[in-house]
Symmetry: C2
Subunit: 239 residues, 2 copies
């Protein structure tokens, strides 16, 4: 691993616990507004809109659109489906910004701080820049640079999402490692010559999770936490 200069991180699921964060914020909003709904089901339904919405952009059916805008369209549709009417634009914006206020997994910040001593830490997320910056500021995620779908104008797993961001750092694929809790993200990165690290996040999708419970490829690092990735890359406490 001596040639690796930069680590690129998937964020939703890998660094932050999106599902519990969304449920928490939806529930709090419901309490404030005296609205009742199955908030875990709402959170799962919102995330179910994620891939189809990005696929419209990937396929070229619609022009480049950032994730905040895709999230908002999905949210407006779901509010109707869950029988929630009459929210103001400000309330919808506040709810949509729930994705900016997700908490990290308990090991994420410590692991990233250790890794930052040795490597350039970059996001490589389908989230847009504002979302990722606001999230990092609130959660204490110590990124060196915030890259992703917006800086590449392409959504993972399209090759351009990886290639354009590596080019922005002036690095070749074998100088870059993709860190993700999703095997398909690592497959796409590996196919381009990037190194790979898998973190098992068996709670990402809640109690019924069936995918990504374990590594299903020959990844360079396999761990069950961000601190485990730091251990595997030789970034011990105090290194």
């Amino acid at each position: 691993m001596t040639t690796v200069a930069a680590l690129f991180f998937d964020v939703f699921g890998t660094v932050v616990d999106w599902r519990n964060g969304i449920i928490r914020q939806l529930s709090r909003f419901g309490d404030d507004k005296r609205l009742e709904a199955d908030w875990p089901a709402f959170a799962d339904a919102w995330r179910d809109c994620y891939q189809p919405a990005m696929e419209q952009v990937r396929s070229g059916a619609r022009p480049w659109t950032v994730l905040d805008a895709l999230h908002r369209e999905s949210l407006v549709g779901l509010l109707g489906r869950f029988g929630i009417d009459g929210l103001s634009d400000t309330e919808i914006l506040q709810l949509n910004r729930s994705w900016h206020r997700l908490d990290p997994w308990p090991d994420s910040v410590e692991g990233l701080i250790r890794l930052k001593r040795r490597f350039i830490l970059s996001t490589l997320s389908n989230g847009n820049t504002a979302l990722l910056v606001n999230m990092a500021k609130r959660a204490g995620l110590p990124w060196d640079v915030v890259l992703g779908a917006e800086s590449a104008r392409a959504y993972k797993p399209q090759p351009e999402a990886y290639l354009r961001n590596m080019a922005l750092l002036g690095l070749e694929p074998d100088q870059c490692m993709m860190v993700a809790a999703h095997n398909n993200d690592l497959s796409a990165a590996s196919a381009l010559g990037m190194r790979t690290a898998f973190i098992a996040r068996p709670g990402e999708h809640g109690p019924g999770q069936t995918i990504d419970l374990e590594a299903d490829g020959d990844w360079d690092v396999v761990a069950d936490s961000m601190t485990g990735v730091a251990d595997a890359l030789g970034c011990q406490d105090g290194c």
Copy 2:
């Protein structure tokens, strides 16, 4: 200033001392290779190529080109002019990367660390992403996000360089403050509705400096160091 969420920093001259950094690295290269030249004159000549090179891009005479590429073209021309022949591509790359290895002014890191507690800290530099990330990693500049000409595909002081980067953070101009040692940078930012902070850097251009010795506009903050900006914005030690 209660509405300011993000500070955008000019980098060359404002945060780092480009002139002494370039002279130091050119001189060291000369010592290593047993080359003699007037290195301060070389450094100044290199910087003299900076605005004309960017102007070719601003005017549309050439397509978007990052600063590393412009610096390299200027460097190759100057090597000939200073009678230095026969450098390899690797040596030219090493010299060109001098711009990635500039030291901060003595007050920069402390001031930025204090400001980071309250504000989003973004670069807004004509340097390209790789240059700014490598510089920050070496010098300990605690950016939250690295933006600039490359993320906007426009060189300051063109309005797009400011507007597109504020849009990437989802912020309006009055939520953003431009921090620079150059009055013309602040004029351009102010014309778009941004707040402004001037830092006097009377040593930026060496002993004969004649421009930007003091604020020549009605800037919101006028200081002579980054810690002075932190003081003015209420970011005391331990705040």
